[in-house]
Symmetry: C2
Subunit: 201 residues, 2 copies
């Protein structure tokens, strides 16, 4: 195919695409806070939530972050966002649950993190709330899913919430506006490459 | 089931899980830069890349960002990271391609962005390089996929690169260490909710 013909086809395709996009944007006019769930086994769930924190801060929004499960290492995102104005940052205190192996202690830590979460979910001053790895706390039944969904549903109407973690429960998916499942196509870990700073940590 | 029995089962499961995780961490000891591809139609690809930027900055790393396709709006991530020390930020200048509808102009803009990318991919001082929406530029053949893969493969050994965008080409997936496909389970846009600041923008 000649370059001219390629260009003409491209232009026609892009015009059709623009018409479709414009129409969708025209149709989607509701402004309100969204509940976004990032789940699945693939890499990128928590980092995506933290990218949204950066985005929100770029718009001058106030942000709350609660990390439900913390790694052995201090994470880069914690280092970074703790130092930034406009962010309240809470980390559940106990390390990975397979480090503590004490269910009662995990439940206490999760409930304390949930109390902080409830403060944020009742305060319209938080325009974005990130509940990182909350799905793990739900999966282990440290928290009650109905109680969590009820609090999310009752939050201020303009507040955005992002929940991350594999195995999101059906009731949470039902309540959410946007749900992404992240699938592993391949992972460096499988090839013997350890978790890397700035990527996983 | 009694609480005691639930606790005991939990402890046993967590001990097995810890053993598996410890073994995998033991086995995965290679330290090197990874090439990570975030693709699929689901929400979270670019935000995930920007979360990794935050992570990397939290570890004091130097970061390069090239955004291949820019929205009509100034994005939150651009506002935010342009103001942060340690980040070089370049945005391809032309807006959405379905706004310009001029293939030659898009190709020139993509090549200029690729020249900036090449500088980063040749400089070990950049410890993380984010090529946001590069897959779109490849999909439209603004850039040659073989040239791109060759440059990525020849980059400094400790440099991490994150490439985002739907429809990653097979050659790029083949070259990557970690690939996540983000699948739409549902999207607020489908329910008539417009793109929200801090979430999409």
């Amino acid at each position: 195919m000649s370059d001219d013909s390629l260009d003409a086809r491209h232009r026609a395709r892009m015009q059709r695409k623009k018409a479709v996009v414009d129409q969708k944007i025209e149709a989607a006019q509701t402004e309100r806070g969204v509940l976004l769930v990032l789940t699945g086994n693939g890499k990128g769930k928590s980092s995506s939530a933290f990218g949204m924190v950066a985005r929100a801060l770029g718009h001058g929004m106030r942000v709350g972050v609660v990390q439900y499960i913390k790694g052995r290492y201090a994470t880069g995102e914690e280092h970074f966002f703790r130092g930034i104005a406009g962010v309240r940052y809470h980390v559940m205190g106990e390390g990975y649950t397979w480090e503590t192996q004490d269910r009662e202690r995990d439940i206490r830590a999760a409930r304390a993190a949930w109390d902080v979460t409830l403060e944020m979910l009742r305060d319209p001053g938080y325009e974005l709330v990130v509940l990182d790895e909350l799905n793990i706390a739900l999966k282990h039944r440290y928290l009650d899913v109905d109680e969590v969904v009820a609090a999310l549903t009752a939050r201020p109407p303009m507040q955005h919430v992002v929940v991350t973690g594999r195995a999101a429960p059906p009731a949470l998916i039902e309540a959410a506006d946007t749900v992404t499942e992240m699938m592993v196509v391949k992972h460096a870990f499988q090839a013997g490459i350890k978790a890397q700073k700035g990527v996983e940590l």
